[in-house]
Symmetry: C3
Subunit: 104 residues, 3 copies
């Protein structure tokens, strides 16, 4: 097994279609519509209007993943890729923790 962990609160993982780039475009657009910025009821606004929605988008996607390893390779499905989904507007440097474990 391969364990991926995201030690950040405004970026997260998504495993999904990575063959056709339009799939990624729609997933990003969907998250922007589902969790809109600049809502009048936000209370967590000290770091800017994209901060609170970034935590909500992280909450709805994935901070930890467990992926099988087959023959030394990640056992992703044919069309799957692993996205690091950055939820803040300006670029951030992100660190990902990876642990692998052999299961006999």
């Amino acid at each position: 097994m391969c364990f991926l962990y995201m030690p950040h609160t405004s970026a997260s993982f998504v495993i999904n279609e990575s063959f056709d780039p339009t799939a990624k475009i729609d997933m990003e657009e969907f998250m922007e519509r589902l969790v809109p910025e600049n809502q009048p009821w936000f209370s967590h606004v000290f770091e800017g209007s994209d901060d609170s929605p970034s935590h909500m988008r992280a909450m709805l996607t994935h901070t930890s993943l467990a992926i099988p390893i087959d023959g030394g390779k990640l056992g992703l499905g044919t069309w799957q890729g692993i996205y690091l989904f950055e939820h803040r507007t300006r670029p951030h440097k992100r660190r990902v923790q990876i642990r692998c474990l052999g299961i006999e």
Copy 2:
């Protein structure tokens, strides 16, 4: 521990109430309302109007799960069951990867 992995991009796992069948009906209806099909802003439409929403629904639910094993049985809660949530309209054959690991 038992690790479940879904190597597909338009089906996913949900662990939730499986005792009363109305819970499942509401979860399906909710996902159809939260992620509606046929939106004019979809760009990933080559495979049909249910394809892009299926990736969004997979993104919001679960591609990998880690479930404890107790006394040789999955340590699910009393009311829990594991759903394979098919997000496409027409039936698909799905393959699930399962790995089990004993922790002494």
Copy 3:
């Protein structure tokens, strides 16, 4: 690795910002708006109007988590905390399953 499992269908885990308490307030408010109670189309209403939404909120967040351990401590990010997110209105007693595994 540390594995957390929630054997309940109306409570779940969220790993997210725990430094500024307004982040939590916004996440709760967001979930109440995203998954509103008392919808006329609910069929799972036997246990009250907050029961079906609690399953939907659990579905969108996390029942199982895998967190790395570094030097005997959970490898959470600087701003991260682990929330047990109670989705029912009245207080419930919740049990969480924790398994730890050393990876050499």
